[in-house]
């Protein structure tokens, strides 16, 4: 596992939250010592968690301050845990690592100066957080606006698709619609097939290509209605034109059969019979 994967694994979060066993935690510590990025990730998360802790602040009662400070000073002056006014004895004194000796140099600053600085820092920190929070919110709003726009355009496409599907369904369900199944003619791949739905009221011919090979460069398929042995041009199309929806072709008052030929792109006035692919009479209903 590389460092990035390690950081993204979630182990840092559980470490900072204190959710790991001692053994697991010391593993994380070792990683942090070896990899500054891990240490940095720990610092960042710990800092967020401290922010969370701070958010729960509750001011202690004012009178406690003197009591608690007096207890702290008294306990440590007598060096005896007995003198602790706490109700119970401090359980198991913590072992504290030996540190480099603290510098004892006194700097002559007045308590008032510290107080002012502390107040200023708190206020600055608060402002910074508020500012950050506002910026985050603004970023969130612009992201949301972008998402809304995306959804709107997605929705337009969906509505259009739905309308197409609905009108296709209307055609197919209409009692005046007759269906012609055009199958491969002899010598062609028997898989080839295209269906025509012809509505007697609107006289529109709808095409549904089930399987036709892609037309070669510069060529297109052409649909013909056959009436009394004469071909009537119903328009040109490509093999994949009806992938999504039925394709409305030409109008014809009635037909005995339909056929598809492969012609030069744009179509021709009369069909090239050797180039016929599929042919079909109406399905008996």
């Amino acid at each position: 596992m590389n460092t990035k994967e390690y950081i993204e694994s979630g182990v840092i979060e559980t470490y900072v939250l204190g959710m790991l066993t001692d053994a697991e935690a010391s593993e994380v510590k070792q990683m942090a010592q070896k990899h500054p990025e891990v240490q940095q990730a720990i610092d960042e998360m710990r800092s967020s968690l401290e922010g969370y802790a701070t958010a729960h602040s509750v001011a202690p009662k004012p009178e406690w301050k003197d009591e608690i400070l007096a207890a702290a000073l008294a306990a440590n002056n007598s060096q005896s845990s007995k003198s602790s006014p706490s109700k119970k004895d401090t359980p198991n004194e913590p072992v504290v690592r030996t540190m480099a000796p603290a510098e004892n140099k006194r700097s002559g600053f007045s308590p008032l100066a510290i107080a002012a600085s502390v107040a200023l820092l708190i206020s600055l920190g608060y402002n910074a957080l508020q500012y950050q929070s506002i910026q985050d919110k603004e970023e969130e709003i612009s992201k949301t606006q972008l998402r809304v726009a995306e959804l709107e355009s997605e929705n337009e496409v969906m509505v259009a698709n739905f309308k197409d599907a609905q009108s296709n369904l209307e055609v197919l369900r209409d009692a005046g619609t007759a269906t012609f199944i055009m199958k491969a003619i002899e010598g062609r791949d028997p898989q080839y097939r295209a269906d025509v739905h012809w509505n007697s009221t609107s006289e529109i011919v709808y095409l549904d290509v089930k399987a036709l090979p892609d037309a070669p460069e510069g060529m297109q398929y052409q649909l013909w209605a056959l009436k009394d042995g004469k071909p009537i041009d119903m328009g040109v199309f490509n093999a994949d034109d009806t992938k999504e929806n039925l394709l409305a072709m030409g109008k014809v008052p009635g037909a005995d059969a339909f056929a598809v030929t492969l012609e030069k792109a744009g179509g021709v006035p009369s069909p090239t019979m050797e180039q016929m692919y599929v042919y079909g009479a109406p399905v008996a209903s």
Binding site: S48, E50, G51, A53, A71, S86, P94, I114, V118
Partner: protein
Amino acid sequence: MLDQSHTITEANLIEEFSAGNEAALSFIYDAYSGALYGVLLQMTRNSDLSRDLLQETFIKIWKYHAKYDASKGALYTWMLNLTRNNCIDYLRSKRNKNQNQNQELDNHVYAFESDSGFSPDHIGLKEVVNSLPAEQKQVIDLAYFGGYTQKEISEEFDIPLGTVKSRAKAGMEKLRKFFKPEN
């Protein structure tokens, strides 16, 4: 500019604190007791007990003042860890009455390096909480305020371990976004 004044002032305060200046302890109490008491209230859900533990914590803070090492972490981090460890010790000894678990403070106290110093105590809790889904908050609170390990959360609250981990991760990510340091 913020960072610089920050460091200097904290450094001075820490110098005074390490040297045993009682006035420094008083400042520290003013600056941090609200945060520490708030954490204790979350951990114990009991204001009398929290007050006692706050006092215990300050006894320890003062006892170990000379041992605090600023190069190992921020004062706030040190005090928060001292507060939490002391309280977790107490809660655990209550939870397992016959089993006295003494966690060594040693590593825990300095577990985290820090660059953060004084923390304001005015950040709206409601805002933070609103940014955190309830099930993620539960895991974070159980771990941070309850002192539970991930295994304990999984077992006692009947949440699959993987879910505990992913909720902790997602929740921390939300907090990180909320408290994102300026840059």
